[in-house]
Every structure is written in structure tokens, then in C-alpha cells.
Symmetry: C2
Subunit: 254 residues, 2 copies
Amino acid sequence: MTAANRSSSTPKLQAQPLYARVQQALVDRLIAGNWRPGTMLPSEFAIAEELGVSQGTVRKALDEMTALGLLVRKQGRGTFVAEAEDTSILFRFYRLTRDDASTALAAPAASFPDSTYLSQVCGTATSKEQEVLGLNASDKVWRFERVRSDHVEPILWESLVLPVSRFPSIDETTQLPNNVYQFYGNEHGIIVARVEEKLRAVIAPPNIVSALGLESGAPMLEIDRRAIALDGQIVEWRTSLCRSDTIHYRNELK
Amino acid sequence: MTAANRSSSTPKLQAQPLYARVQQALVDRLIAGNWRPGTMLPSEFAIAEELGVSQGTVRKALDEMTALGLLVRKQGRGTFVAEAEDTSILFRFYRLTRDDASTALAAPAASFPDSTYLSQVCGTATSKEQEVLGLNASDKVWRFERVRSDHVEPILWESLVLPVSRFPSIDETTQLPNNVYQFYGNEHGIIVARVEEKLRAVIAPPNIVSALGLESGAPMLEIDRRAIALDGQIVEWRTSLCRSDTIHYRNELK
DNA sequence: AAGTGGTCTAGACCACTGC
DNA sequence: CAGTGGTCTAGACCACTTT
């Protein structure tokens, strides 16, 4: 971008720095679904030339998007849209660990649990579901229930609520995979940018006690999670009830 | 740094990029206590000249340290060592929120709780304390117990264990302030770089029930926290038992 | 006006990957 | 070997704060 057209597009006060506008332009393409997870982006120089800015400015935008977990950069190969199955991306949103894990606190979880689906129903969103997912009264949702187990035992019961409008291809026969965020990205072009969680301690409900083989009245960790897509909309409401006798939730604050 | 002395100090293969070595040099000064929290660092150009590198390289190091929460940059003023009382630094390590808070999930906690200290004793580290804090059998620790309350009610009971060797100025008469990380930084030059937490659900112990006015058998959130200083050593072991009927733990994963 | 951090550019060279 | 990202430099200019 020359001095002339920079000053013409933003006369004096530029609302946003150039690299931020470049970043937004790239994020917009991700939202539009132009680039699915795993896709290789054009090179820094190609993007720079296309947008009329310098390569250093594109680099700053790409670096920030990489820090946000949206992109993965591989020296000598290229810049790619992050995939849920990328190493260390897999565990980005998974914080449960066995108490007896020999690893240090900072180490990643040893294993990613598998899932057994218990139910899969479609219905009109309840008022609470409307509020959480930002839906209207007539909107429909898919509701899934599953039990997740690690290599030792069942560790949690989980409920997933998805707005039908964002997942039009789901039907009664759809087999949700174990890694649902990979499914959201590859099948629906929905990239989960971040998740917000609320954690509480609760007493295990009787039906969960039997499903997980717990003692009656056992304390459990309840995790209320909302997954937010790149466009800022909540695309999944998840409630997990995790056993707390052998599993804990690890967190690192920086 | 000229091409000549760069190639002489790192003949061909440089183990670390230059900005990383600059960053480590600056972190080392923080560890040594040369710069207390709130201190203004030399300007980018001054650091660059002193270390014989370009200003852009210093900038990259400072930007990373800012991202780690170690520094605070203020345009037109300078770069400062982060203080625990800096806005938004205050809540960096505090994740508890009232259930009825009208704020969105992403909003910061409404209030920082105050503390009532229950006990303050010095003793030889137990084997568990030795393991957690990396101490020897004869090492001593300070143990504090406190109850923390927000504007409504007591919300948690908390135990703090500190190695005496890192906090030589503490004695029986020391009044720990409410914001202990500020105290660590200003009084002992200990900068907490990050904390690691393990969360579990437990049944409230009888003595906690009475201290917080809970119902017998209530589920509580147990938070096992280790605070890690810049030098990588654990300087505080904290165990919190938080009421779960009106308070939750919020987390955002990116 | 002087000094600070923030943005942007242009170009050089290095390190890694894949053909 | 060509193409990619990664590092480093030098310099220009902008925005903000303090004197």
C-alpha cells in the first residue's frame, strides 16, 4: 500500500491499524467458509501483494491469528487453517486428567476419551436453550447425550445442544464422532474460536450415579460450556458431569 | 549487533534466536530483582544499544514478555514491570464469580474478595509440602488459613503454604494483605509468572461448613493451586474450598 | 519540543520442506 | 533448486505523554 492510497483510504485518523484490518479480512474469509480447516493459505508475499501491504504487515496479522489458535504455521511448508485434530489443538479445549497421572501438572492430558452416545433427539428449543444459543421461540435444536470413558472407566456424562440452523446436515442417522469440533469444522465449516466454561460442584444425580458406577451422593464437577464460533455466535451448549473421585480439571493461568 | 560479532558469537547454528536471548537477559534481571514491579524499563532504543541489537529485536522480546503478563507497555510513557494491582492483572489469577452476576461470561469478576486470617503458624514442612514446594526435610514453611468474603457472604476457606526461605521477612506479627501476589512482588521481589490449578468437587468438611454457614454435606469446589515464580520454582501452595451454591469458577479457553 | 511506544515498509539473509 | 516461513536490520512516520 503506497502512502497515497493509505492516506486516501484513511485520511488522517485510521480507526484500526493496517495489520488489524488485514487480520479481519482474513478472518472474514474463514467465517465465509472460503478456507476449510487444513487448507493452505497463500504465502505471506502473495497475501501482501493482493492486499497491497508489505509482507511484514501480513506477518503480524498471521502471527496473531496463530496465537488465537486459528492458524498453524509450518516453516518451509506454509500457513494452514488449524484443524481440531492438530496435535496440541486436540487438547486445547480438554482439561480433564486422571489424578494418578504421572505427568507434571503442565503436561497435556494423557488420553482423549472416547464416547458412547445414549440419545439423539430433535425438538423445539426450551426458553433456556433459546437464551443460551440466541434462538427464537420456534427454532429447533439437536440434543445429544453421551458417556465418555478413558482407558480405565467411564469418567463423565455429557449433554450437547446444537442449533439445527447451524447444523443442517444432521439427522436421526447422523453418527456424531468422538471429536465433535473436528466434525463442526470439516462438515459444517464452523470454526470454534473459543469456549467459555462455568464450573461448579454438585451432588451426582441418581441416573448419573448408575451410568458411571459411582457411589450414591458422590460429589461431581459440573462444567457448563458454551462454544463460540468465529462469528461470535454460540454454536454449542454443553453440560458435563464429571466424576471427581479419580479425575480432576487442570488449568494454567498466565 | 554487527554481522561480524553475530557470526563470531554464534558461528553458524544459533541455538536460540536473538530476540529470545534478549528476552532471557531481561527476564534474568527481573529474577535477580534489579527491577521491582512498577519500575520503568529503559527505552527500546536504550536497551537495543546496550545489547548491541536493533530496536525491532528488542521490541519483539518486550512484546512477548508483555503477552506473558510480565510487563505493561504504555504508549508515550514507557515500559513497566507489571504490578499485581494493575487493572486486569488483578483478576488474572482470580476466576470466581457470583452465579447471579449480571455480567456476561467473558466479563471480569465483579469484585475482589477481602480476607479474614484465621491462623498463621511456622513449622517443618510435611513430606507432602516438601514434594509440592521442592523443599528438603529440615526446611520450614509458613502456613496461613483465611476465609475470603465478597460483598454478600463468606465464599471460601483457603490455606496458603509458603517456604520460609523465600519469604525471610515474614514473622508472627506479619499481617498478610488481601492481595498476596502484590505483597510477594513488592516486599520480596518474587514475581509470580503463572499458576497451575487442579479442580475437584468434594463434600464440605464439617469445620468448613460452620465457617462458611453452609448446609451439612454441601458440595464444594476444591482448588489446588501452585504459584510458579519467574525462576520456575513453586513459591506458594494454596488450597481453596469454595462454596458452590452461589459461586462458580469461570474459565475461557482459546 | 522531546521522548516514548506503535505502525509500516523494504530488503537481506537463514532454516526448513519438497520436488 | 525453488518456495515457504523465521529472523534481523534500518529507517520513516504516527500517536501519545510529559515537560
